[in-house]
Structures are given as structure tokens and as C-alpha cells.
Symmetry: C2
Subunit: 310 residues, 2 copies
């Protein structure tokens, strides 16, 4: 991705990380990169082929296992994300794209958050609503609850949270350049409860949240049964799907676009994007990784930052 | 489907229902069928073109709304299923295939079950474990809990229920003709709990159930994250997926095979199959219904009955 320069059309890239890891990556991918070290993004130059790197000098790849969970690697990843966030808050970065990270490694490295999105909210001092959004082609997907135990879903799901998610998706999609997005909202119960036969949260929580959103002029509709909503969304002219919980949304998006999906942390003052796929420890070092989703993550980050290349 | 005789290669069909509904269906589909009325399947003959029908004479299609939920239609559907079950128990039918039915209509028609599978279990006096299985091509999918409110899933999910479902899928698949089926078992929590970070039911319930199944010689494996298990199942040589709850399994199967999927009620002494898609009230009377799943449902029913055509 760095070697073929494909992202230069959208963004001026600065790598933030350990230079030794970048060198190892070149070996594995079988490419050679000219690299320039920059103390900060402000010092980086894009008038030549050399890829700028802010060298964190915080992890020797020889000291951690490849293709496994390591607290040391998790700490280095966390430190890097902290530094990038500081750079973004200082105006030196317009957006942050990070490669897939392992939540457990991050946690064991001392960053004890339920996921990276909670970490970013904490780092940016954000106390309002935020959520991750999954992007597959033209379709966005967001769930009201995400990385929590299944048994806790019902305690965190209510009308307000559903409403907040609809508004967040609407506003983020607008920021992305879709003035009047159409948003499908999922049911919670099987077959949307079969008219009250299998649960009533459609009537008590979801419909009221949709109505409130519609009153604000948002094009939200539903609730639609979760097992066919993505079929509808992919078939029709639709911009986003709001699901109630993680797997309800992810099954479809991962099935449709495993290698292309991107995750956005939506709602925060800093733009974060990352490939939606996982760390793929099983193919580490084989040189077979597909960079499609990472490239797409950079493209989306650039579009969300909306700062034209000068 | 009746007009083109496609199912004759697998089964000797008898229609059970109201003759006037079959006539209306012919008008809509634009076909003409020769029909013979039989008091029971034992009287039916297959040595000519005429389709045998056991005329229930229990519903005038002019008296119920087309494309809507009607208690009268639900009662007629329920009566027909009761009669077919009696015929099967008497040895006059080897298997039952029914067109999509509306659970709420059935319920309002006086058959107050959570779904048709519970009704069939009651009708056959079955008190042991049973479940519905969804079939998409060569892949079978079954969930431990099905048509219950989402909030009740955690109260009904335990090691025994998971174990029972694995065994049921294994045995039904064997009956279908797969001697040593490979069964993937889904996790419950997002990312299979990220090693305990988001819930521990993988360790406390699912792994023990898989281990018990393996001790019986069943090729069960997992738990695999729900958002990628179907991707794995479709890509690899795999016979079945066991999910923990309805939408976890149905999102993928409906996305993959909306028009071809079949549902089997597995575990009961009588074979029941039906298309996995819904009643499609929106296209009633348009003559555009695709019979693919119904044909497939007959084919599977015949194979499960395993009684060669004589």
C-alpha cells in the first residue's frame, strides 16, 4: 500500500510507529521503500518518494511473538494510538487510520478498555455519544450496543440509545457528503416479534426512537426483521442500517465484504478508521495479506477529514 | 410446481387443503391442472396426470383477505396441518411439506403456539428435544433457541440445550445420509468474547457442550465468532452450523439463499419441511412467486422419509 502510492490521490500519509516494524513489513511483503524520519508530521515532506515516519522506537519486532497475543506489542500499539491522538488534537494530523489491532493485546498492554473506541473517547475527553460504524461499499452499518457481553445487551438498550445511534449515523453520513441519508432500523426480536408474539421492544423502544428521529427530519424507517434487513438494504437505495447489537449487524457485513469493510469511530472530535477485519494471526509473515480494506480505510478517513490536498 | 410435475422424481404428492384454494392458485399462476379428489392418501392414484387432493373443504378463499393476516385463514391452515399430522401418524403420509405460513395468523386462528414447530411437537406428543433446521444448499443451520423474545434467550441457553442441539443436528444429518457430519458451533458473545473480555459463556457453556459431543464421536468444533462462522462454513467442507439464537443464524442463511432455503422440523417422529422464506403478502395474487424453495422442501422431505418410490 505504501509502496504503490495508491493513497496519495486522497491523502498525505505519515506513518506513526516503530521503524523496525516497518522494515520487517517490507521484507515480508517483498518491497523496498525509501523512508524519511520526521520528528512530527509538520516536518514531513511529500515532494519526493520517501515515506515519512514518526519513529515511536517503542517495540523491537524480534522481542515479540509473531502471530500471537503479546502484552508488549499491545502496549506499543496503545502508545502509538495515544501519540497519534495527541498529534491530531494538536492539528498535526487530520485523521488516523490504524491497522487491525487485537483488543485483548491492547488490554493486556495496560489499556484496559472494552475496545479501542472507548479508549479514543477517553483520550479525547469525549463524554457524549459515539459508536463504531462499519462501511461496506456504499452501505454503512452501526449497532446500538457493540463490544459488551451478550447478557448485558438488554440492560444497555433503550429508546434513547437507539435514537442517539440513528442521529449519530445521520450526522456522520452527512459529514461524509450524503445530505439526506436513508436509514433502515433493525428489530430486536425474531421476525420483529411477530406482532408481539415474541417480545415487544419493537413497540416500546424502537418505534418511538424512529418516530423521534423522523420528527427531526431524519429519513429513518423500520423496525425491519434483522434476518432480512440487510437483504433489503443491499437491494434498495439505502445509505445505512442501524442494528441493535454487534452480531446482528456484523454477520451480514462480514459475509458481504470481508476484505473490503472499514470501521469508523463515529462521533468523536478526531477521525479514526480501520479495516473491519481482524488481525489474521494465522497468515502473519506469509506475505499474503490483502491491503484492500486498509486502502479503503485511508480513503474514508480522508473523505471524513474533508481537507483537500494542497 | 404441481403443473410441471418436477417433484414426481422424488415423491408421490398428495395435496391436502381446500380445493377452491387450489383452483384460485391455478388461476393466479395461469396453469390448468387435472385434479382427482381422494378421501385419503390411500385412495390417491399416480397412474395418470390428475393431482390427488384430500379436500379439507374448510376455507372459501373469497371470504378471507388476500395478502393479509386472517384468523379464519389461520384456523384453516392449522386444521389442515392437524389432519396431515394424523394422516402421517396413521402411516398414510411419509412426510409433510407445507407452504409458508404466518405464525400470527395461526395463533389468532386458535393454535396458540410460539411457532408451528411447537405445535407439531404437541400434536405428535413429543416431549423430548426438537428444533428447526434451516437448509441452504449443502449447509444446514440450526439454532439452540428460536422463536422466543430476545430478552429470554439467556434464560433458555445452557450447556445441555447446546449439547442437545449438536446431537440433534448430527442425528438428523445422519438420517439424511451424511454418515459423519462436520458441525461448526457458534460463540455467543461478540468476537467469541475476546478471550473473556466480553462475556464468558464460551468457556462456561459452549466449550463443555462441544467437548461432550466430541466424546460421543461427533465432529463438533468451535466456538467460532458468530460474525465469521458462516463465511468459514460456506468456504470449507462443512455440513452444519449450530447458532445460539434465531437471528445469529438467520441473517447469514437468508442473505445467502433467500429463494432456496428450506426449514425442517428436526427431531419429531413425523417429517415436516417448509420453505424458509415468509408468506410474501406483498406479492399475493401477482403470479410472480418463485416455487424454488417449495420444490426443494419436497425434495428434502422425500429424502428424510427415505422410502423409495415404488
Amino acid at each position: 500500500m505504501l509502496a504503490d502510492g495508491v493513497c496519495a490521490q486522497w491523502a498525505r500519509l505519515v506513518v506513526v510507529g516503530d521503524r523496525r516494524v516497518l522494515e520487517l513489513g517490507q521484507q515480508i511483503a517483498g518491497v523496498e521503500l525509501a523512508v524519511q524520519t520526521a520528528a512530527s508530521p509538520l516536518e514531513a515532506r511529500w515532494d519526493n518518494e520517501a515515506v515519512p515516519i514518526v519513529d515511536m522506537n517503542n517495540i523491537d519486532p524480534c522481542e515479540v511473538p509473531q502471530g500471537g497475543v503479546s502484552p508488549k506489542a499491545g502496549r506499543a500499539a496503545g502508545e502509538t494510538l495515544v501519540h497519534m491522538t495527541e498529534l491530531a488534537q494538536a492539528g498535526e494530523l487530520d485523521a488516523i487510520t490504524f491497522a487491525p489491532l487485537h483488543k485483548k493485546a491492547l488490554y493486556s498492554g495496560g489499556f484496559e478498555y472494552v475496545d479501542e473506541h472507548a479508549m479514543f473517547a477517553d483520550l479525547t475527553g469525549w463524554e457524549d455519544y459515539y459508536s463504531e460504524v462499519n462501511v461496506i461499499g456504499d452501505l454503512w452499518a452501526c449497532s446500538v450496543t457493540t463490544h459488551i457481553p451478550f447478557r448485558d445487551i438488554m440492560t444497555q438498550l433503550d429508546e434513547q440509545a437507539i435514537f442517539d445511534t440513528i442521529v449519530l449515523v445521520h450526522e456522520t453520513r452527512q459529514r461524509f457528503g450524503t445530505p439526506d441519508p436513508r436509514i433502515l432500523v433493525s428489530a430486536l426480536n425474531p421476525h420483529a416479534g411477530d406482532e408481539g408474539l415474541h417480545g415487544d421492544e419493537e413497540q416500546t423502544m424502537i418505534e418511538p426512537a424512529i418516530e423521534r428521529a423522523c420528527e427531526l427530519g431524519i429519513r429513518a424507517e423500520g423496525p425491519y426483521p434483522a434476518d432480512t434487513i440487510f437483504r433489503k438494504a443491499f437491494a434498495e437505495d439505502c445509505d445505512a442500517v442501524v442494528s441493535m447489537y454487534h452480531d446482528q449487524g456484523r454477520v451480514a457485513t462480514k459475509l458481504k465484504g470481508f476484505l473490503k469493510g472499514v470501521t469508523i469511530t463515529a462521533g468523536l472530535p478526531v477521525v479514526y478508521t480501520t479495516p473491519a477485519h481482524g488481525t489474521a494471526y494465522d497468515i502473519v509473515g506469509t506475505g499474503t495479506a490483502d491491503t484492500g480494506a486498509l486502502v479503503e480505510a485511508v480513503r474514508l478517513a480522508a473523505r471524513l477529514a474533508r481537507r483537500p490536498i494542497t
